[in-house]
Symmetry: C2
Subunit: 210 residues, 2 copies
DNA sequence: CCGCTAACGCAGTGATTGTTGCGATCAGGG
DNA sequence: CCCTGATCGCAACAATCACTGCGTTAGCGG
């Protein structure tokens, strides 16, 4: 039926996204505004008109791109917490984890980071939490996988509850031992974790292994 | 000057609080309303008029008793997370911790509890976090202190980084090993912790000790 | 049982939020 | 270079929120 359309559009159902210059500029400006406002005012007063004003953008624009504050915060968190920390390569698993845990601890000591994390978790629920730590889990998996490929004894599929020595821990175990304490202290207590303490967590995770 | 007042009031500066029947009833009703609303609607839509309507109370009453939503949430969290879990007494530290960690894990598996925790942390910042875990830290300290008084070898003030066997861990160590993973999984990931996994955390904390 | 006052309900008000329709502008492709 | 349409700014709108006096109710001590 009248397939004499000009372009290759099928039925106009899915509008082609246009991540070009202006859109990217607006996006970046809004993201920065969220971070700045969250850094100086309580999360309760963070509202879309306030963000728009701070970003130099009309509120309607923000309302259209991010339907709710929760989605906006999840987007900002995912963008902020992705690529901010690089996976180190010191040659040994212990060295990698110690360096990485220290970097994470330093990052979590920044009040602005804490404010953004708390707001994302509070408003966006599990999705917000995921946006904050998804990249960390990938980094952890990458380091453990590399160690396993490098000289890892075995993948630790069947070992007793005691934990065989010289076994690369799983991602879950490492997350429990490292991300757990790091993020728990950051979110629930006022005191930030010190670098030396973060290294101690790695030591406790790898105690009696390689 | 004219001390012929009827009562013993000094200068009328500090109004005597009146935690009587009606006030207590209103307080309980508002607390329950917050929990119920948080359980079925996103935290973003939690507003003081909504809470008041749900509680069958006039909004001005809520505005006067809790100046901001953050304080209200912190109050609700502190009330909800205090006294909900009793310190077990099984005779051994390992048994106490396993039982307690299991109870905490079960509590954290409740979606309503998670919603309240996330909202409190997101709105009230560090204070909200403290309101959620202050009681847990006290319970942990109580169990460790009791073990130390019971047959604790020493208070572990000066031991090497390896960790002496047969030493009662400090509150910080126990919080890192238990509360860290428990609350991290609950808040940042969608999957709740299973009881068996919680017991495993205790095993890892006490590995190579008593 | 009576008096005092803290705490609540009520009505009214200004400010802010969230939404919608329309015209202007700029990115991306022919 | 021009054309298409995705994206933005603008203005008006209804809805809701947060706040403030004032009268009334009810807890608490005498």
């Amino acid at each position: 039926m009248t397939t004499s359309q000009h372009s290759t559009r099928e039925a106009g159902a899915t509008p082609r996204p246009r991540p070009g210059g202006r859109s990217a500029r607006v996006r970046a400006s809004v993201h920065r505004a969220v971070g700045e406002l969250l850094a100086q005012a309580p999360a309760e007063s963070l509202t879309i008109p306030a963000v728009a004003t701070r970003a130099g953008v009309h509120p309607t624009t923000v309302y259209r791109r991010w339907p709710t504050l929760a989605e906006l915060l999840a987007d900002v968190a995912a963008s902020r917490f992705s690529g901010d920390i690089v996976v180190p390569d010191t040659g040994s698993l212990r060295g990698d984890l110690e360096r990485w845990a220290t970097d994470v601890a330093i990052d979590l000591a920044d009040p602005d980071v804490l404010a953004l994390m708390r707001a994302a978790v509070g408003a966006a629920g599990p999705d917000g939490g995921d946006a904050c730590v998804a990249d960390r889990h990938e980094q952890l998996t990458a380091m453990l996988e590399r160690e396993r490929a490098r000289g890892g004894p075995d993948d630790g599929s069947d070992r007793g509850p005691g934990g065989d020595p010289a076994t690369v821990p799983s991602t879950d175990e490492a997350a429990d031992a490292l991300l757990g304490p790091l993020y728990y202290r950051a979110v629930f207590t006022a005191r930030p974790g010190e670098p030396g303490w973060a290294r101690g967590l790695v030591g406790r995770l790898l105690a009696g292994r390689g």
